[in-house]
């Protein structure tokens, strides 16, 4: 049986557009949901395992940034055995993911209405972090840049941040150039 996505792509060169929007609470419990949802959305394009891993990592980085930097929801709702913060501390903001598949190109837009980034260029430097106490690596934007083909970050302090990423699927996978 042929996959639907493949058939659609070859129809007279016209680019098929498929879109989805997702909005969820900006808490860390939703990080895994967000990346799995995007990965499932892309599955119609028959991506390789590596491409899926790339997309999941990039989405995870962007969503985590929105949650812990944009909304400063550090702990989420907590889980059994973990510290559970006072519910009042939780910022009610939402994270929005918009995806568009156009031909074999995936566009992802991840938006939050949190506190924004003062200096985007500085934030994108590898190893730079404004929250060293969280013991995160400061590699978030570096990973997004490495795993996606294009990355654009726009932010206004006090208004929020939008991360736009683009990945072309079906190009040569990185396994082949490994050995």
């Amino acid at each position: 049986m042929k996959k639907k996505g493949k058939n659609m792509k070859s129809e007279g060169g016209a680019k098929v557009i498929n879109e989805m929007t997702l909005e969820f609470d900006g808490i860390s419990d939703n990080e895994s949901f967000a990346r799995v949802a995007v990965a499932a959305f892309v599955s119609s394009l028959d991506p390789t395992l590596e491409e899926i891993a790339d997309i999941k990592t990039a989405v995870s980085e962007a969503v985590t940034n929105a949650i812990i930097h944009g909304y400063e929801n550090i702990c989420g709702y907590g889980k059994a055995g973990n510290r559970r913060p006072d519910p009042q501390e939780i910022h009610p903001g939402k994270v929005r993911i918009y995806c568009r598949i156009q031909g074999d190109v995936l566009h992802i837009e991840i938006t939050d209405h949190g506190k924004g980034i003062d200096d985007v260029e500085k934030a994108m430097e590898p190893l730079f972090t404004t929250k060293p106490e969280l013991e995160r690596s400061g590699m978030g934007f570096a990973f997004m840049e490495a795993f996606m083909d294009e990355l654009e970050v726009t932010s206004r302090p006090g208004e929020g941040t939008k991360v736009r990423m683009l990945k072309k699927l079906g190009t040569d996978p990185w396994i082949e150039d490994e050995d």
């Binding site: 895994s32 990592t57 980085e61 949650i67 995160r136 690596s137 400061g138 590699m139 978030g140 990973f143």
Partner: protein, 113 residues
């Protein structure tokens, strides 16, 4: 599920299937407790079950490396699959920790090709 065990003064940490920011806090806390209270010499991270890791995982390793190297210890990584190894390479982690090559994994990959 993550799991902590001490074998021969080494802290063995079996990492969960997915490592993200949500899971990382608890793992860091637990690992630090063992490093300080149980006076371990080295830390071994076992990625056998791990299928996904983002920069939070790098943060876990980096943080533990900083702590254990103060006591002259080392960090080892075992059973890392291709995806995890790629992230370690990209972040430069493979230069400060020992990534133990897994013979079985290599053979399996050869076999799959």
């Amino acid at each position: 599920m993550e799991e902590f065990k001490i074998i021969d003064h080494c802290l063995m940490v079996r990492l969960p299937e997915e490592i993200d920011h949500h899971r990382a806090g608890y793992i860091c806390e637990q690992a630090d407790w063992y490093i300080v209270k149980k006076k371990v010499d080295h830390v071994v991270f076992d990625f056998e079950n791990t299928r996904f890791m983002d920069s939070s995982g790098v943060g876990i390793i980096m943080g533990r490396y900083k702590k254990i190297s103060c006591f002259g210890g080392k960090v080892y990584i075992v059973h890392a699959d291709r995806q995890v190894r790629r992230i370690l390479r990209l972040s430069g982690m493979d230069r400060i920790v020992e990534v133990v090559e897994d013979q079985n994994e290599k053979e399996r990959e050869k076999y799959e090709k």
